[in-house]
């Protein structure tokens, strides 16, 4: 796994200025993630899960140490380079779905492709594929306001996946969903991860999410306290994509 890892984190420290002093949110994190891994960050509130996702997603930069994403050292990326990295290779899924209300389901997913030079028909195909993965082909013309929470999050997944990224970062994706929807969504993501070889990293408190994860990294006060790789993750084949 070390050799084909696409994310390498070494002795990562992240400090935030708080007033005149500094607060250390991540304190010496080292870990790596391979292609197609289905992993999660667990831990109490304030332990640094979101901060770590931010840095992996090149939305923020390390204070010390090194984070390498697909051969790019995150700390040395310019705004332009990190934007390009996100645009091509990283998908994001948020707790609140953050769909754009003025656009239809189709357009919300299409949005993620607009920066890439694709023809109209290529775009359309990619969007329809992504909507098929999440089972929403019958809602292409709907606006987010007409959808249920679960459906919204499925649109968000389609938006993250439509460009077939190498990595998807999902911060508490099930926090606003009921149990049935949570299972459905996480299963969908797991299948996609398998099929498209996409690395998923979650930040979550949710036990329902954890039972699907192949690997759970537990954080506490900015440190990794446990890094569990499961071999027998529960197959949930009854939920199809």
């Amino acid at each position: 796994m070390e050799n084909d890892s696409i994310i390498k984190i070494e002795k990562l420290i992240k400090r935030f200025p708080v007033g005149k002093t500094e607060f250390t949110a991540l304190n010496g994190i080292s870990a790596s993630f391979g292609r197609g891994e289905f992993a999660g960050l667990a831990g109490p509130s304030g332990s640094g899960k979101t901060t770590l996702l931010n840095i992996i997603g090149s939305l923020d930069s390390p204070s010390e140490g090194d984070v390498d994403v697909l051969g790019n050292s995150v700390s040395s990326l310019t705004h332009k380079q990190s934007a390009k990295l996100r645009n091509r290779h990283i998908g994001f899924i948020f707790q609140t779905y953050n769909l754009l209300p003025v656009y239809t389901v189709f357009e919300n997913v299409e949005f993620a492709l607009l920066l890439q030079k694709l023809s109209r028909s290529e775009r359309k195909k990619a969007v329809m594929d992504a909507l098929e993965w999440v089972g929403l082909t019958d809602k292409v013309k709907s606006r987010p306001s007409m959808l249920s929470g679960g459906e919204c999050q499925r649109v968000a997944i389609a938006r993250a996946m439509v460009k077939r990224p190498d990595i998807v970062l999902a911060d508490e994706p099930t926090a606003n969903l009921d149990s049935k929807n949570s299972h459905h969504i996480i299963q969908t993501m797991k299948n996609l991860s398998r099929e498209l070889k996409t690395t998923f990293i979650f930040a979550t408190h949710d036990e329902k999410v954890m039972q699907y994860l192949d690997r759970i990294i537990s954080l506490e006060d900015g440190k990794i306290v446990k890094d569990d790789v499961k071999t027998d993750s529960k197959p949930q084949d009854h939920v199809s994509i």
């Binding site: 939305l59 934007a83 645009n87 656009y103 920066l115």
Partner: protein, 424 residues
Amino acid sequence: MIKFLIKGILRDRSRSLLPVLVVATGVFLTVFMSAFLKGIFNDITDINARFTTGHVKILTRAYAENKDQVPNDLALMDVGKLLTRLQADYPYMEWVERIHTGGLIDVPDSLGETRGQGQAIGTAVDLLSPGTIEPDRMNIKKSNVKGSMPAKHGEALISDDFAERFNVSAGDNVTLFGATMNGSMMFKTFTVSGTLKFGNTILDRGAIFMDIRDARQALDMDDAASEVLGYFKDGIYDDIKAQQLQASFVSKYTVEGDDFSPQMFRLAEQDGLGDYLKLAESAGSVMAFIFVIAMSIVLWNTGLLGGLRRYSEFGIRLALGEEKKHIYKTTIYEAIVIGVIGSGIGTGVGLGAAFYMQRYGLDISGITNNIGMMLPSVYRAEVTPALFYIGFFPGLIATVLGSALAGFAIYKRKTAQLFHELEV
């Protein structure tokens, strides 16, 4: 991408409607007001041209220097010849002669004793020759409120106010006292054919309008005139043409150092009308400038509000890997579209309103009654080609400027906060 964003803007009424309305209103006001101001200035210039200044005016230098005293001893001589020559040299102009005189109007009783007396401004123009347009030009026919226009020599029109004050009615006689061209005492009795009301205090207080031949005879001004006025036959004052005319006139007619040789004055050189004309020209741009500033500020703020509304949209776009510069650029493009729509609507509505006001005008004769200036009683807008861009481009610029200022907020956005911001 931009097509996509425009679609979003147009769907989100609250995002598009307000800026479009602001721009459209500002542009409308700019277009309409500048048309209206232009019209007003033109009307004012026009009425002054008709009454006093002509498009060009010819006087002796000595007369010009003492104009306030109405010094007919310094009047133009040999006017018949002068007019013939002018008509030959400048056939695109119409030339008319006028005589002004000051004096007293004496109203006699049945025994010929003085019943009342008042100061009067006497104006003598061609009232009687067939086909004369001077009564129309000076609006005399329309201002004739009682009695009728003079039909023969010895008849005159007096101000209606004056007539009321001294109880004079059509058919009565009044005597004008004054001085002849040579300085001797002059009096001439006129039969009042009717009265005039111009809606202008100075003229309405005490004026007497007579035919120029009667004045010539009374004032001993044979073949003389206080002034000769020239009008462009198309009726429109053009200062550049007037300057060319003036230059030509000076070289042909004016004798350097001779106080009695004729001098030509352009409309723009008289009674501060030049400033008016300049004002009329700059009014549009001043107006546009003010609106650009005001609209920019309003649009800046609507842009900021819009930015707040689109906070999460920008956040998602940043997360999706769009560069800040690109987001900024697209907001500018959006502003251009909004600006074009708003400015287009504003220009359209403004032009429509201006056309309406050009055609029908605004009758304010009721208000202007007591104003001393020569003012027109119906205000009309004037539609010029400039109206097509005078509001449009400022509107566009204001929208873009407003968005450009508001858009700087995008650069302040820290991607590091996105997850936290988008969680709520």
